[in-house]
Symmetry: C2
Subunit: 311 residues, 2 copies
């Protein structure tokens, strides 16, 4: 049982690259943050709602604006401090939705959803990570304006890394939901399923939230049992991936099935099937006879499938 | 790079064993839940505040009560449904704190905090897991009575696995915070640190919350860099452990250090040192010349230390 050491994440795995020094020591340094906005070297991501703005042009697209160059003159509120890129401050700001009409007539900037940027590799891997960090934080702020403990309004603190409640003194930290995503294998075959929300023909790995009181390994076993009635023995960790839709951490695993008779739950998934290695290879390269397809290479599901082919 | 498959968790690792079939299909089945409380085979954990009640006696202590035998006649509210143990329903209930004076004179039942039950192995590993699940859920309910989205009161639903807001229709699910806990190694030595909150003489693995936009591997690198200025290259997953204080999932990792000059941050930890394998073995068996001690075997930190000795 030798440990499997991981150096860099696979290049295509979306959002998982290292981007910047998060420099958390500056999050509560008001003087630094105030100054930093005026540096010529400070740049900021700009969101409208949950969509980042890109500057139109050749790929990789630029997503970092100078504060002087934020495309709409408006009150941008308190920026989120994301850290330092080669020593230079990086922020994220959100524009109010009333900028949307004005945006629609601009040809130099455009709002593009983050999934599209990732699937089509439209920005650099480092900027994808920066966007994922900002989007996860913004998704959290968007749904946590009030104190879950006492119901009063909370306010943003620590440059976006905390919210506090003046009424009951609670501190609230960004939420990150661990999700297991896993492929069960049984001798030469692997288990893939599809939810009814998937694009037609696509099969992927099963997945679900880790529940209170569960280890990663037990969450893998429970989810596969719930969705397909397949019993899993040993579980191996493969890799992880931040997934800001809205605030997840994907924990990719492989599971050794102890049985192969599938019974679909009919709730979370509409189908699950065993596929041979040969079929999986065809699915991955788009030549499967039934037209079955795999999720994109930016997803950890694709990398779990590849790991099985590489066994 | 072969995957490392894990079958059962180490027996001593607290809270990490499988206990019961969570049977999530019954969480929204009001008729089943209502009936189940009257079954003679239904049993319930009983908490006062965040302390489980135990029946005094020989170890392993019994922590499961019949509903008729709940020690204080009081309104127990809506029980949390934990699942089925050999087909028999298991619940958790919370007694109001006004039961505390009455409890203090009872000799047959006692409230004991969950950490003590785990450290001293006072209940079975399966019941430790059941208690951890209940305690994580109760901790979450305790701090989430209001809707973070709109500030109105929320109510418990799905037998304790959800809260809903009638005002804005938001659904809130239990929070589980992923935490990386890791040991850096550098040739024959390993890095341990101590927080000022630790018992005197104890050193342990470094740890910290996974932040939005981070993979597990990058969180490991960032935390060790922040706390000790040690740069980490490759990272290996070791094991995971539910940790209901209040609602964490510990993700245990090993990290290969690329440098060995320690600079303490002075904030999160008060000291960090490199220990040789020989010293670590002495720490683990209580013979270190400076009296340095390790955390208990129920913690994943202890198992990470053992993993390094076993290399």
């Amino acid at each position: 049982m030798t440990h499997r050491f991981i150096d860099l994440p696979p290049e295509a795995l979306g959002f998982a690259q290292t981007s910047i020094d998060r420099a958390d020591k500056y999050r509560d340094n008001a003087a630094f943050l105030e100054d930093a906005r005026s540096y010529g070297t400070s740049l900021t991501l700009v969101f409208i709602g949950d969509m980042p703005l890109i500057m139109c042009g050749n790929t990789p697209l630029n997503v970092l604006f100078t504060f002087n160059n934020v495309p709409f003159a408006t009150d941008i509120g308190e920026p989120i401090f994301l850290g330092l890129e080669n020593g230079n401050p990086r922020f994220a700001i959100v524009l109010p939705e009333q900028c949307l009409p004005e945006l629609s007539v601009r040809e130099d900037v455009k709002a593009v959803d983050l999934r599209t940027l990732a699937v089509k590799s439209l920005v650099t891997p480092q900027h994808l990570n920066l966007l994922a960090t900002a989007q996860a934080l913004l998704n959290w702020h968007g749904k946590h304006k009030f104190c879950a403990n006492c119901g009063q309004k909370t306010k943003l603190k620590s440059a976006g890394w905390k919210r506090i409640c003046d009424a009951c003194q609670s501190e609230h930290f960004p939420r990150t939901d661990p999700v297991v995503i896993m492929m069960a294998t049984y001798s030469d075959k692997c288990l893939l399923g599809r939810s009814k929300h998937f694009p037609q023909g696509m099969y992927s790995c099963l997945a679900g939230f880790v529940e209170p009181g569960e280890s990663v390994e037990n969450a893998v076993r429970r989810e596969i049992m719930e969705e397909t009635s397949i019993k899993i023995g040993s579980v191996a960790y493969h890799h992880s991936q931040p997934w800001p839709f809205p605030t997840s951490l994907m924990i990719g695993c492989l599971g050794q099935a102890l049985s192969d008779e599938i019974k679909i739950d009919g709730l979370e998934i509409e189908d699950a099937r065993w596929f041979s290695k040969l079929e999986l290879a065809q699915i991955m390269n788009g030549t499967h006879k039934e037209g079955i397809t795999a999720p994109t290479k930016m997803s950890i599901a694709n990398h779990l499938m590849q790991a099985f082919l590489d066994f």
